[in-house]
Symmetry: none
Subunit: 400 residues, 2 copies
């Protein structure tokens, strides 16, 4: 947002911002109440009473975002311009690191017999077997024609591969005949720029088939969704703030890494996330902290558990606020109403607290109070980062 003028406006200081994302926290009404309406949230209420509230549209009116576009918007990137391909998402979700210029591809283990694909999912082998096969591949294939790659098992028969070579461009048709009883379909370039990528993917399939020759049922692989990492200017370069992403789940760690944040490994609980925040508060200007379970409960259609998860999040708030960051923002990457059991398009409440933030009449962190009293209004997700920068005193005046 405002990319053409932002570089000239960014100024550094020693302020610190904490960006708390309760995944899928927004909802829609069930018998007139959302999960946020129903939750007992004394700490959020107290903070809301002395903060600015608003509602954000993650990608745009009516659009339901996946986790990728949802978070890119929160980090201030245009989720429509910076689309994240399937291969990249599989790699991120598998906990792999994806950097600028990488090419990521999703893989299925499959069965080939007498030159024909007889099972596109290799009998749906379990994840443990998939991990074993990936280790076998890793041991036996150092590189593909000199190009280094990472490979990681995902769930069941699926895995992801990331090729580290900036000359590999996406635009490759899937190497997947889509039906059984057909010979394997080689990857085909959609344009001359991606011919090298197609060749490397085909060499990879050949090598895997060679290594797995004695395996059954997984003795080959199909490769789909080849995608370059999106062309994203790193967070610190864009905003002048060093940043870390504190998250438990691979997808969110991966998204934070994708925009260039430091991401610690090995965290399992909200308590551990907050411990990490305390331990490293001095080390970064910007701390993104992700809380997953509001979304999980919404996706399960469990109103009461989503309420309980909001209350758990509320209970953790004082230990975060005692760090006294200059700016605290609380929001979600999208709504996940338990009545829908899915991500949704509904606008998401956002709370902004800081020394110079307007104390509007909102008294609770709810969709309703944000709509009724929010000084921030209805804003695109990308406007949140602009507000953080401003409230941190990190944006110079535009024009004299």
């Amino acid at each position: 947002m405002f990319d053409e003028i932002l570089p000239d406006l960014i100024q550094k200081n020693d302020t610190k911002a904490v960006f708390l994302v309760a995944d899928g926290v927004g909802g829609t009404t069930v018998n007139g109440r959302t999960e946020l309406d129903a939750a007992k949230t004394p700490n959020l209420d107290a903070l809301a009473s002395k903060s600015s509230l608003g509602l954000h549209y993650p990608v745009g009116y009516g659009l339901t975002p996946g986790s990728g576009p949802g978070h890119l918007g929160l980090f201030g990137y245009d989720p429509i311009k910076c689309q994240i391909g399937r291969g990249i998402l599989e790699a991120l979700g598998s906990g792999m690191t994806v950097r600028r210029g990488d090419l990521a591809v999703r893989g299925n283990f499959a069965t080939i017999e007498n030159g024909l694909i007889t099972d596109r999912r290799a009998g749906r082998i379990p994840t443990e077997k998939c991990i074993e096969l990936v280790a076998e591949i890793r041991e036996n294939i150092a590189d593909i024609d000199g190009i280094e790659f990472d490979i990681k098992a995902a769930r069941d028969y699926r895995f992801a591969v990331v090729f580290h070579d900036a000359s590999l461009k996406d635009g490759v048709d899937d190497a997947d005949p889509q039906q059984t009883g057909l010979p394997p379909l080689p990857a085909k370039a959609k344009h001359p720029d991606s011919e090298k990528s197609a060749a490397i993917i085909n060499r990879f399939i050949d090598e895997v088939t060679r290594v797995l020759a004695d395996e059954r049922p997984a003795n080959t692989c199909l490769m789909r969704g080849a995608a370059n990492s999106p062309d994203i200017s790193p967070f610190e370069e864009k905003y002048g703030m060093s940043a870390q992403g504190i998250a438990v789940y691979p997808m969110y760690k991966g998204l934070a890494k994708l925009v260039g944040m430091e991401v610690p490994d090995g965290l399992q609980t909200l308590e551990e996330e907050i411990e990490r925040l305390h331990a490293t508060f001095a080390d970064f200007d910007f701390h993104f902290l992700h809380f997953k379970y509001t979304d999980s409960a919404g996706e399960d259609g469990d109103f009461d558990r989503k309420v309980a998860m909001i209350e758990k999040f509320d209970a953790a708030l004082p230990s975060i606020l005692e760090l006294e960051p200059d700016v605290v923002v609380i929001t979600g990457d999208h709504s996940t109403p338990s009545s829908l059991k899915l991500h949704s398009w509904h606008p998401v409440p956002v709370l902004l607290h800081g020394k110079f933030a307007f104390e509007d009449d909102a008294k609770r962190f709810t969709e309703r109070d944000a709509a009724n009293f929010g000084i921030l209004g209805h804003i695109p997700a990308q406007a949140i980062m602009m507000n953080i920068l401003a409230n941190c005193g990190r944006l110079a005046k535009f024009g004299a």
Copy 2:
């Protein structure tokens, strides 16, 4: 809106949406109250209490839309990119059908004597005479150099012509000397692409002048506002919803046809419109129903009559709701404050009702309640269609 990603997101199901447009329903305050504030609307109130409210800007901040851009915005088209030329509007307003690739031109009957235009409006002949002359032209001119055309009388001395030939491009100066006492001015092409159009228009004028040689005062015509139909992707193609437009007045029927909706003929009253809605509810996914008289009363500057028309609209609501559409939207194409006696730029209240719509704190369908409590916020008109699609479950998730 979001045209670059929409085709990938549209998914079909069997939901039904009803889009009720009370023309010019929004207002501005007179002694602190708008017409919507003053009206007794028990049915709208009841619906508003369990719906999402908001305010939409038809074209943009401060812009007063004509009926064309007003409705295009409601249908989700960009009214600035899809401009509707004068010739097209005259044709639509005259009840003609305009299709992609057509060229429409407005005509005036005029008087020519000794090679000079002596009256640009042929003595303002009455509509009945105009109809007679148009019939005479129709009888005597089958086509223009092989190009088929429709012609229809408008009001007084005015008529419209639609040429059906996709090779006719607009960009033609008016064939109108603008003053009397001058010779007729032939249509001139503004660029090489429109030379054929200019030639055809000039041939048409010659033919009309030949046919009307013995008429007085209308013995020739001036031709203005040549325009191609805007390049609009048909509604069903864009949204995957079959659609009908139920309206009484030619202009709104024409606008609905322009975006590819089915449009029944012969309806005269709101009751007949609702009868048609009932009779054909199963036949379409999307039903646009237009109510004219809120606008007419506003244009007449009659506050009380506009209140009465809103109450008439309110009284009709239960018979529409008994169809139990999945999504109901109620709004106007623009505001027509009776204090202004004109269309205006004021934001227009919009109500969205559906199973997954947020029940916000708005209790009435008024500008005021929408501003105070509306969860939808202030939105561009095009966002309404996005919200309809989302609430119908017809938009897939964007990104994973």
